[in-house]
Symmetry: C3
C-alpha cells in the first residue's frame, strides 16, 4: 500500500482526465434518460472506474479514495453535463471527442503510473488498456448496453493498446518524457476519434 | 494489508448485514428459477460483494476471505431462503424490506469502516455508496437483469448517497456514534422502502 | 503486498491454465465474430481474469501484472486460436474440453494459492470458485451473453465448488499434495465436461 510521492503522475493531469471521462459518461447517460443520481453515478464510474482498477491491480489504495479532488472532479463534471444539457445535445460530435480525449489521458496516465510502480512491459500494457477502457466497459455493462469495445467497428481497445505499446517503446528508446506522452496521447486520440469519421474499422478475426 | 483490530465495526453487525443481503439476493434468484448453486452464488454475491469491493478499495484483504463467519452467514441465509421458499413467496413485500435493511446496513458499515481506515469525506461517501449497491449491481449484471440502480424510479443509489452524506455530516457535528448510525440507517431504509410505496421517484436528469 | 516465493504454485502450471483458458475464450470470441482486438481481449480476460481477482482478494499484487509470462501466454493462445480458426471450428467439442480443463486448473491453483496465503476453509473455497469462474463470468458479461454459471443446466460453479471442497477435505486428511491436486482436478473436469454429454443437470432451487 505504499505510494511513491516523488514518482507520481501530476495531479492536475489525472483530474483533467477524470473530468473529461466523467463528462463523456454523463452526457451519454443524459441521452439515455437516466435520473439525476444515475447520471452522476455513471459520471463517477466513467471518471474513476479505470483508475480504481489500475490502482488495485498495482496493489495501491485507489487515489480516488484518498484524494478528494478525484470524486469532486467527477461529480462536478457530471453536474456540469446536466446543467449544460441543452447546449451539449447540439454538439453531439463533441462527445466522441471527449471520449477520445479521456481514452488518451487514461491510457497514458495508466501506463506511466504502472511503470513508475515497477510493472514490466506486458504488465504496464495490460494496466494501460484496462485503465483506458475499464470505465467505459463498466459503464456499458451497468447501463445494459452492448460493450462497444469488443465489436467490430470503432477503435477503442485497439487504440488503447496501440498507444500503450508506443509509449513503452518510446520509453525504451529514451525519448524525452513530454514528447513520449504527447505522441502516445495523440496516436490514441487520432485512432479513436478519426476511425468513425473515416470509416476505418478493425478487422474481424474470422476474416484474417 | 494491515487491519486495525481496535477500530473495527462490530462483527455481529456485519454478519447480520450479510445474512439480510444474502436472503434478499437468494429470494430474488429463486423467483428467477436459478438452480441451487445459482441461488447460493447470488446469495454470496449479494451478501459479500459490496464488502469485498469496499475492503479492496481500502487496501485491506477482504474480511470475507479471512473470517469464516462471513461466507457461512451468506450460505446459511441462501439455504434458508431455499428452504423457506413456499412461506417466503407469500410475503413478497418482505423482500423489499430485506433489500432496504441490507442497503442501510451495508452503507453505514461501509462508511464507518472507510472513516476508521482514514478515508476523507468524499472517499468515505464513495465507499459507502459502492458498499451499499455493489452487491446488487453485480447481482443484476450477472443475472442479465437491467441494473435497477440507474433507472428512473426507486431510490437506491440515491438513498445510499443520502444516508452516507448524513452519516458524515453528523460525524463532523460530533453526534454520538450510536445516534449517528441509527439516523443514517433509518434515512436509508425509509428512502429505499417507502419510495415505491408512496410512488416517490427520482428525477430524470433531462427534466431538470 | 508481500509474496511468499517459497510457497508459490509452480509457474508452468499457472501458465498452462492461462493458455488453456485463453484458448477457450478466444475460440468462443471468434465464433461470435469479434474483431481481432476483441478476440485477444476476451482471451486475456478469460486467461487472466480469475487469477487477478484471486490475487486482489488475497491482498497480493496480481502476478499477471508482475510476471510477463502471464500476459504473453494469454496473447499467444489468443493468436493461436485465430490462426487455427479453420481447424479449430471443426472440433467444436474440443472447446468444451478446454473449458473444463481451464476450470479445473484455475480452481486447483486458486485454492492452493489461497491456502498458502493463510486463507481458512471458507475463504479458500470462495477464492477457488471465484478464480475458476471469474474469467468466464466476466467474459459473458462483457460479451453481452447470459451468464451461464447461474442457469439450470451445465455444471460450472457447482463443479468448481465441489472440486474446491474436495481439495480442502483431502488436505485436512493429509493426502499427498500431488494426489490431492489430481483428484480435485479430475472431479472438476469430469463434472464440467461429462454433464452436458450425459444430460446431467443441476437442480432448480424451486424444485427441491
Amino acid at each position: 500500500m505504499d505510494t511513491f510521492p516523488l514518482l507520481q503522475v501530476p495531479l492536475w493531469i489525472e483530474v483533467v482526465a477524470i473530468a473529461v471521462g466523467a463528462l463523456a459518461g454523463a452526457a451519454g447517460a443524459v441521452r439515455q434518460r437516466f435520473d439525476l443520481v444515475g447520471v452522476l453515478f455513471v459520471a463517477v464510474v466513467m471518471g474513476l472506474g479505470g483508475g480504481v482498477v489500475r490502482d488495485v491491480m498495482l496493489g495501491l489504495r485507489p487515489v480516488a479514495v484518498t484524494n478528494q479532488a478525484y470524486v469532486l472532479a467527477a461529480l462536478g463534471a457530471g453536474l456540469g453535463a446536466v446543467v449544460l444539457l441543452r447546449v451539449v445535445t447540439r454538439f453531439v460530435r463533441l462527445f466522441g471527442l471527449f471520449d477520445a480525449l479521456a481514452l488518451g489521458l487514461f491510457v497514458v496516465v495508466g501506463v506511466e503510473k504502472a511503470v513508475l510502480n515497477g510493472a514490466p512491459f506486458t504488465g504496464a500494457l495490460l494496466i494501460g488498456v484496462v485503465a483506458g477502457i475499464g470505465g467505459g466497459v463498466t459503464r456499458d455493462m451497468i447501463s445494459g448496453l452492448p460493450v462497444q469495445v469488443l465489436r467490430r467497428g470503432e477503435w477503442n481497445a485497439a487504440a488503447a493498446a496501440l498507444g500503450a505499446a508506443l509509449f513503452l517503446l518510446l520509453r525504451e528508446l529514451g525519448t524525452p518524457d513530454l514528447l513520449r506522452d504527447l505522441l502516445a496521447f495523440a496516436v490514441i486520440v487520432l485512432a479513436r476519434y478519426a476511425s468513425p469519421l473515416f470509416g476505418w474499422q478493425t478487422v474481424e478475426a474470422g476474416d484474417l
